[in-house]
Amino acid sequence: MQKMTIFSSFFTIASALSMPLSVTFAAALSIWTFPNHAESPKAQGDKQEQGKTLMITKGCSSCHQLTKLPAAKGLVGPPLDNMAAQSYIAGVLPNSRENLTQFLLEPQKFHADTAMPTPDITQQEARRLADYLWQE
């Protein structure tokens, strides 16, 4: 019992100190980050939803695996998890949102021998897919 006193008093002081700090920090963080989001969370959620639908309707999910989309479990192409962390697209193209959008529009332009067919998608749909895949 006695040996716990020091520990508990230490933690009480530590938490008493850190509580106002963390609250201030969280408040500061929310003030700092909030104006950066031009879009409301709902609009973003809609875009995510669109990306998800495109993954299935445009056939991506039948060849590629994506952990966050259980319906996507294809074993033809590589898994598409952690796209934001990938260095390259198809092993040939430096990865960026822009490059991924271009690749989705015309894969053969970047890798002539690729087994990936050209998806039937518009520029905007390609951008939605790229955004969806880049989202953590």
Binding site: Q2, V76, G77, P79, A85, S87, P94, H111, A115
Partner: protein
């Protein structure tokens, strides 16, 4: 005042603490004395040790970096930066589409895949590591070998590398051949006479081949610097695709149908099948490629017959 008296009275607490400390000390001593932990560079650290060291390294660098970063666009990375990179760095770290020298594949920890590091780390961190090196990793300190400007040129180049395709890097590397450098791409891809002799099937020692596990082979060709592979502790960034279930996927590199033989052929010479691929030719010997492929089947979701 009262607290000190309480603690002094509590002898039981002290004796338990002393015993615990003694046991921990004895454990560490015996781990060292009996040589339990393997220092061989054939395999990497165990996952807990790897995670611990990686975390310690990141914290140590973060605690020491200077926040003041000069404007990277002012540095001459296209010629002088690339020339120094080719002279001092490419032998261990490789470059887009360029394999590191064979000797560096045997290093442990393996020199990191440069593109992954460049994407992940800030300019300040990159500069600090170039300047100071990292203890017990093989990364040397360049502080007294390169000027500050030369080191910043390298940082500027590193930040550009992830945006370059294989052919774009090759063009830039070609342009800077005017400077004194031994490490042209051709030199790196060529093997020393000893290595050529080893590559011949006749000189392959059967016993050595048998002793080598697929897991060790994967590490000895530094596959895990770019690929996520079950059973090998390494960073989890992705340069190439994960290999955990790749034998069950229909195509290798999006172009070659997946069969055991095609996997072996691909590992031995990727540019032959996909010239623009960022995966370099690591001159993997056939019997090594075979046991690597065996390992890939072993870690796949279900062992299909092949």
């Amino acid at each position: 005042m009262t607290k000190t008296i309480h603690i002094k009275l509590n002898k039981k607490f002290y004796s338990i603490a002393a015993l615990a400390l003694f046991l921990i000390g004895a454990l560490i001593f015996s781990l060292v004395y009996f040589g339990v932990y393997n220092v061989s560079a054939l395999t990497g650290h165990t996952t807990p040790v790897y995670k611990f060291l990686e975390h310690a390294r990141i914290q140590a660098v973060d605690a020491r970096i200077d926040d003041e970063v000069p404007d990277l666009s002012t540095f001459n990375w296209q010629t002088s930066g690339i020339a120094n990179y080719k002279r001092h760095c490419v032998a261990c770290h490789g470059a887009p589409g360029v394999a590191p020298e064979p000797f560096s594949l045997g290093m442990m920890p393996p020199p990191s895949a440069i593109v992954r590091v460049a994407r992940q780390r800030s300019p300040a961190e990159l500069f600090w590591v170039i300047e100071n090196g990292i203890k017990m990793s093989g990364m040397p300190a360049w502080k007294y070998r390169l000027s500050d400007d030369e080191q910043w040129e390298l940082v500027a180049l590193l930040k550009k590398l992830p945006t370059l395709s294989k052919s774009e890097y090759a063009q830039l590397a070609q342009k800077s051949t005017g400077t004194v450098t031994n490490n042209t791409i051709k030199d790196i891809l060529s093997q020393t006479p000893e290595e050529q002799a080893l590559a011949k099937p006749t000189s392959t020692q059967q016993s050595a081949g048998e002793a080598l596990s697929g897991q060790v082979a994967m590490q000895q060709y530094n596959c895990s610097s770019c690929h996520v592979i079950d059973g090998i502790a390494s960073a989890t960034y992705h340069v190439g695709p994960p290999l955990n279930n790749m034998v069950n996927r229909r195509f290798i590199a999006g172009t070659l149908p997946t069969t055991r033989e095609n996997l072996i052929q691909w590992i031995m010479n990727p540019p032959h099948f996909k010239p623009q691929s960022l995966m370099p030719n690591l001159h993997v010997k056939r019997h090594h490629a075979e046991i690597m492929v065996d390992y890939l089947y072993q870690i796949a979701d279900d062992n299909q017959s092949y």
